[in-house]
Amino acid sequence: MTITRNKIVLWLFAIIWIILFARLYYLSIKSNYYYEELAKANTEKAYYIKPARGEIIDSRGKLLAMNQIGFSVSIAPHLDTQGKEFKNVVKQLIKTFPELDKEMILKVYKKENSYYNHNFIKVVNFIQYDKMISAYPRLSLNENILVETENKRFYPYSNYASHVIGYIGKTNEKENKKDKIAEIIGKTGKSGIESYYNTFLQGEPGSIVSKVTATNEEIEILRRIPPKENQNIVLNLDVELQKMIYERFGSDAGAVVVMKPTGEILAAVSTPSYDPNLFVSGISKKDWNILQTNLDHPFTNKFLYGTYPPGSTIKMGMALAMNEAKPGILDISEYCPGAIRVGKSGQVFRDWKSDGHGIVNLRKAIKESVDVYFYKKSLVTGVDKIAPALKKTGLGGPTEVDMYGESVGIIPDSQWKKKRYNQPWYPGETVNTSIGQGYMLVTPLQLARYTSLIATSNLPTPIFASKLGNKTIKPQQKYVQYNPKYLSEIRAGMYDVCNAPGGTAVSIFGKNVPIAVAGKTGTSQVVGISRSEKVRMKEEEMEYYHRSHAWITTYAPYGNPEVIVTVLVEHGGHGGSSAGPIAADIYRWLYANRYFKNSAAAAIVPPISNTGNKDTTVKKTNLRVN
């Protein structure tokens, strides 16, 4: 009996001790490495050295985004906020910088001050260099105040290029999750170049690894890793051109893209704009509300995200697409009586010129922007053959520009309509589409790229950046095969638009600009034009927000394209009257600023072959009256 009891007790002891030894063995021998790492992690604390963000520079070396040097002010930790010491510090700060908010300092201090924090607490984020210089000697005497240098992003050209450069702001939770470095820095590019090239611009933080105790007291510095910083970006942009265009717009809303045929963007303007400096340290509610409620949408990047019906500017691409849909169709001239009827219902489609253009060939169709020419041909080819061919011009797809948030626009066809509205396609819609109205939508940047294709046969990838640090970015283009005969006729038609009598923009260009410009005007309807009206209403008579948008897209010099200029004026009425003069001013400015390699040659117009028109057969199509 006794023996058994003693045995039971001894067995109990043994079991408990065996488990104990097994656990100790597991902890200190099997898991030694794991716990060693944990012990090390306990004692090491890394402080990051924030990298200086790269600057953004325009093609002539002007700073578009820079780091302003100033100072931050920190207060020693573990001070009693009710005590004399702390009150003296705040008193001295307020006396030196009367604009500081006493409550704010107290609030920040209380929030950051804790038993575990042994660092000075930053209570003022930024004070201008010149303001601090005179105050520094006195402040530095107070051992509870720490003044450190601080960077602040500054955009010297404020409104002029805000849609291109973008701005930086405090990171939000989503950005912190996505980018660890941005989380460390606490600021990240929110839009434009600042956002697209954020990874490059922000660089990589360095760090100071130091040994600390359980209460975070620093004992010694173990190692120091310098940050990767000052990674500058040079843009193709000329900010003076940008500024000229922005100011030229005045109170009008719109967008401009000035681009080389290679894709290098010289200017990209979206008006109205905003001051990106407002966002750097958080925008005030008042400023936000003013910008947010503006009907002209200053936040919308109109050259990138704004989509508009291309109107008559589509006609060059439309002609090429029709030829691809039905080869040889461009050889047939059309008769324009001023209007046609379409479909069983006999819906009337009018030309912009009510008495018609007579017999129209391709060149004349571009020059005079003859709607009926395209109406008729589109009914022959049908929309479903046009759309894929038109997409080859870069419309309806991404431009792959180095900026986030571009719209792809819409090149409609029957399938698209089925998917979107679950409705069949009507022939009248084909007619509408043929002159760039209806469902078709493009962005100004897409249209500039498309114009470059017409001018050079190359479809460029628009690009803002020219150099990332020391690395030069080579622009990319894609050759697109078109029949040169039609291309040169179209180009000639575009030349006529700006130079020949009867061209839609001849009064603006012609002798008024020092170089030979070729282009095309366009009007994109905002409100559908009523069919019952015999004559289209004059744009000037419409309410402002019902007026059509005005387009002009051009290139120059005519013989050897060096620049593409695409202008959109929202609610600007006819393209020729409001967008044209802006484009003309841009060319004059470019000419004055020696943008054309051979200024003298630029004005000379090479002879235009007219061979394509000789054997043109005229096909008279009368109004179909049911």
Binding site: M1, T2, F13, L27, Y34, Y35, A39
Partner: protein
């Protein structure tokens, strides 16, 4: 001169020197580690050693066998009164009402610490007075013993100090088990505990106690995490004092008292920990061996077995909680952790045991000598 204390050669002859020698390496390691953690604490610890040594000597020469018949009820009763006083006017520290302030001198005492002595003493006296029958005690005596154990248990558990209360419960019933209770009683008791455990867990425990039990099983607390890191990073032979960052940089909380075993692990590694546990095992087995000797009288038996159980439970619970196998309760590593009260109490218990061993066969010394022939 000391003849009235009966300090003759017989005492020195029967004194268990081995038991005392076994404790020396434990003291040595303990004071060395405490010195490394904080020399100030080491100084204090040395004072405790001196006080404990004096208490030990007094216990050795106190004629326990002569005075137990009146001392036991006095000590036990006084202890119960103190525990009730704690309940009524106790000082609350960190949410637990465990301390009594002695008026005037600003010293606090923790009466639950003395309960170790009172319970063992009470059981020893009662068992000696009523030796167990051959097949163990019956239900009547069992109820008496249980009452002796449960009264202080309930008072201490109420403080709340469930850790100490449970230790006393285990030690008390552990002694009874070795001394002998009828088998049927244990069986019925087991069934009762198994059935009532869920009910006690649901209604008897406070939320923080459940949380501790829960944490011990799933995710360890900050204390335990740091202790695991300390033990785990020690490896086989441990790290130098400077490299023992867990302790030196104060990541390990209360490293000198309840969590000293973790510093031992960090500083001396697996071998150091194994050595210390081995020393405890030897001590526990030695005490147990003394307790189960045939012809040992019941006083010696109960004190030896009681001390054996005390060391077993204290060491087991302390190390288990540090290695994350038991909830964190305020149980020190016996005679190793920095601290005065617990150390002195153990010294007194050893003193009593040595006294009992030395005078075991000294018939004249035993006032109501009744040599038990029960094996």
């Amino acid at each position: 001169m000391l003849s009235w204390l009966n300090l003759n050669e017989r005492v020195f002859k029967h004194f268990n020197y081995l038991l005392m020698i076994q404790l020396l390496p434990i003291f040595f390691l303990s004071s060395w580690l405490i010195y490394e953690i904080n020399p100030e604490l080491f100084k204090k610890q040395m004072i405790y050693y001196v006080v404990a040594f004096i208490a030990f000597l007094i216990s050795v020469v106190t004629p326990w066998r002569l005075i137990l018949w009146w001392l036991m009820p006095v000590i036990y009763g006084f202890n119960i009164l103190l525990l009730i006083a704690v309940d009524l006017f106790g000082k609350t520290i960190l949410g637990a009402q465990r301390w009594l302030e002695i008026p005037g001198i600003g010293m606090t005492i923790q009466p639950s610490e003395f309960t170790k002595v009172s319970i063992i003493m009470a059981l020893a006296y009662m068992i000696r007075k009523n030796p167990p029958p051959r097949d163990g005690y019956g239900i009547k005596m069992f109820i008496v013993f249980t009452a002796l154990i449960l009264i202080p248990f309930v008072l201490i558990a109420k403080e709340p100090d469930l850790g100490t209360a449970l230790v006393l419960l285990i030690v008390g019933f552990g002694i009874l088990f070795v001394v002998g209770i009828k088998k049927q009683i244990w069986i019925w008791l087991s069934i009762f505990i198994v059935l009532s455990a869920p009910i006690i867990y649901t209604y008897g425990l406070k939320t923080y106690q459940k949380q501790r039990i829960h944490d011990a099983i799933s995710h360890p607390s900050y204390h335990v995490k740091q202790a695991l890191i300390a033990i785990g990073s020690g490896g086989i032979v441990g790290k130098s004092k400077e490299d023992s960052t867990q302790t030196q940089m104060k990541f390990l909380p209360i490293s000198s008292s309840d969590f000293i075993f973790a510093y031992l692990g960090e500083r001396l590694g697996f071998l150091g920990m194994a050595t210390v546990i081995f020393l405890y095992i030897l001590l526990i087995l030695h005490l147990f061996y003394i307790g189960i000797q045939p012809f040992t009288d019941y006083l010696t038996k109960v004190f030896a077995i009681g001390l054996s159980w005390l060391f077993f439970v204290y060491m087991g619970v302390n190390v288990y909680m540090i290695i994350g196998l038991a909830p964190v309760v305020g149980i020190p590593l016996p005679m190793f952790s920095h601290g005065g009260t617990s150390f002195i109490i153990f010294a007194i218990l050893f003193g009593i045991l040595q006294n009992l061993i030395a005078f075991q066969s000294y018939l004249g010394y035993n006032s109501d000598a009744k040599i038990s022939m029960v094996k």
